[in-house]
């Protein structure tokens, strides 16, 4: 008998019919002998409807009252799912975040979970009930309702799984797992049966929307095995787990990419201590996040300083840099908002040399010019012109043979 925490997002519970389909899935898992805790989001559209009501009154409503308002969305879903489970003969009991003491700090709308009291949940599980918990919400020291912010229901599920020492935390979503790359770009993309936490973190931070990065971090911190599955199709999904001998023997697990990039180069900067801070300080002060940073030393005692930001911040950053360039005596500021980032991700990279050179060779063979390179222990990222995105991804997918099922070892 395994203890499983399942999480269903807003689309998966978006109508009465879908809630009934989720009930069938949950009841079937219980029939197989597992103990089940089910975390649900608000029905899709409901949170936006509630926010709309608030905005009719006040553009910037009190964060505390906003949490009181939007937390009703998940509360509706837990009641309806419990009813749907009862209807098919499956004993179930619903709890709001507050009722199972999901204790958070008081940062309304972006609260962080501090502690979960699992006594009630364990008692219900021991009595043979499915426990249905409202995602995204908790309660602070004062008893005020809090919400966890974006991806909060994933975090609730992982936190509950950690508190209960669950055997697995299953995130049901509208995709059936994590792929070697986006199948819309490379139709030969293959679903991974396993991926490591570190790889998943890199994939998530690079824009893969399957899981919220905070939930992945949380799962990694508390050693919770995470599985991503489809709400709508059968399948094993992708297990996000710890690197071990049973894992796929691949050097590279996947190819992530990010279209939302823009790049700046400040040319001819005097190569003096503190110059990087003088350039990036004003950028950071304007709340613009910087991603890759590269500095090359030129021949004449000056240096070229290059970095990337989110494409939405391009205009704001360019205006700041034009001011800064004069102050630091730079020759020129060059901006480019038609670039993208492509990254190879794989824990196998650590032990296999030559990945970078294979990558550069594959891109070069297609005539793709690399504008920037940045590496980490399990990732190599390159910046290229956006017109090469699809070609680059497919070339790398082919070069590293990602469509093929890997041989199992161990």
């Amino acid at each position: 008998m395994a203890l499983i925490v399942q999480k269903y997002g807003g689309t998966s519970v978006g109508s009465i019919e879908r809630i009934q389909a989720v009930a069938e899935k949950v009841a079937a898992a219980r029939e197989r002998g597992d103990q089940l805790v089910v975390v649900v989001s608000a029905m899709s559209g409901e949170t936006n409807r509630l926010i709309g009501l608030a905005k009719e009154i006040e553009e910037h409503p009190s964060a505390r009252e906003m949490d009181v308002l939007v937390s009703t969305g998940e509360q509706v879903t837990i009641a309806l799912l419990s009813m749907a489970l009862h209807k098919i003969g499956c004993p179930a009991k619903s709890y709001t975040g507050g009722q199972v003491n999901i204790l958070t700090d008081s940062a309304h709308s972006k609260a962080r979970i501090r502690k979960i009291d699992d006594i009630k949940v364990r008692a219900d599980l021991d009595a043979g009930r499915v426990v249905v918990v409202a995602g995204f919400q908790g309660v602070d020291d004062l008893g005020s309702i809090t919400t966890l912010g974006r991806g909060g229901s994933d975090t609730t599920a992982v936190a509950l799984a950690a508190a209960l020492k669950a055997d697995e935390c299953q995130i049901f979503t509208d995709v059936d797992g994590v792929y070697t790359t986006d199948p819309r770009v490379e139709p030969k993309a293959r679903r991974l049966s396993k991926i490591s936490f570190e790889e998943m973190l890199e994939m998530a931070s690079l824009g893969s929307k399957v899981l919220q990065i905070r939930a992945v971090e949380f799962a990694g911190k508390y050693n919770v095995p995470l599985r991503v599955l489809s709400s709508f199709e059968e399948g094993e999904g992708t297990l996000i787990t710890f690197e071990d001998k049973g894992m796929e023997d691949a050097k590279i697990s996947g190819i992530a990419f990010n279209r939302d990039e823009a790049k700046f180069t400040i040319q001819g900067v005097q190569d003096q201590p503190g110059v990087a801070y003088r350039i990036l300080g004003p950028i950071s002060d304007a709340n613009i996040e910087v991603d890759m940073i590269i500095q090359n030393i030129g021949q004449d005692g000056t240096t070229d300083f290059t970095f990337t930001v989110h494409r939405n911040d391009y205009d704001k950053a360019l205006a700041i840099l034009n001011g800064v360039a004069q102050e630091v005596g730079a020759r020129e500021v060059k901006g480019d908002n038609t670039i993208v980032k492509i990254s190879l991700v794989g824990v196998g990279m650590r032990s296999h040399a030559g990945i970078a050179s294979s990558m550069f060779a594959a891109l070069s063979k297609e005539g793709i010019n690399i504008r920037m390179i940045s590496t980490s222990e399990i990732k190599i990222s390159v910046v290229v012109d956006e017109k090469y995105l699809e070609l680059g991804v497919r070339a790398l997918h082919e070069a590293f043979n990602l469509s093929a099922e890997p041989a199992k070892i161990g």
Copy 2:
């Protein structure tokens, strides 16, 4: 500085505009120097929408989960009203029933309040905040959400007023007070500035829809002065209070009536012990409520047994009685579902003789035949043919001079 509990029903908070209007009313009262606790219902239509969702899943959903579901309705309102108060510069804080520990028994959907913990509310009032509380809901010993059933928000308001020893509990509704009779029947009906609890209880039990009978009982039990006012018009409304020397010196306060009556007479019943039980037992077993009961002894050692029921139960009761009549050897069962009940209500009745004879004289003068009479300490009810309802009410209103402002004494 007075401490006032105000309650606004579903119609009064039925749209964003109306919620904003309520906020204005509340803020104005606070400006006048009062401390305010505001109890609100779900926006009109919202509870039915939620029940509709549940019914799509299950005709008879779990009462516990139903309470989890419908209690979101009031939770939405408290958040929106608090935002609307903030918007106009009035400090306010919202609480669900559970958050202010409105402790009830576990009778889901018809729970009764056991205790209210007023610590949080008092702290907010002392800090100058308006406290906005979700009506209709509480929490049981296990922390499960409960709802109070019909009129529950009125009961929440009265219970809070009792716990806080409030100076007044104001029920805002779509009428501007309690009238001597229904103004749709007698246009000369006059709003009462005061009415006693006992009179209000009789008026409510006779079908006057202004206040829920449970809330009135609760207010009487805990000596909470209740005031009924209009959400939409200015005015003093009607104060429901204890009989005292300052009250209106009227013999009669009002005329109530009930159109939903039906009457049965079992004729020629042998006048033996137990015969009343043999007739009414099967009626009661069928969950039919009996209102007035009259038994006259005939000349021939037999008796006529007459009683009234709700008109909806007429067919069911008639079928049962036709069976019973044979068993008890009765001559005939006569049913009539075209009758109504008219009642005079007034605490003054206790000390003034002759009210009954004045009543009968007034009806007789209009040629109205009285079919049944029943009296209590502060009420005289008569059953008449339904065609005489309006005529009878107006004749009595005139006979007891109810349109005139009473002289004040004391």
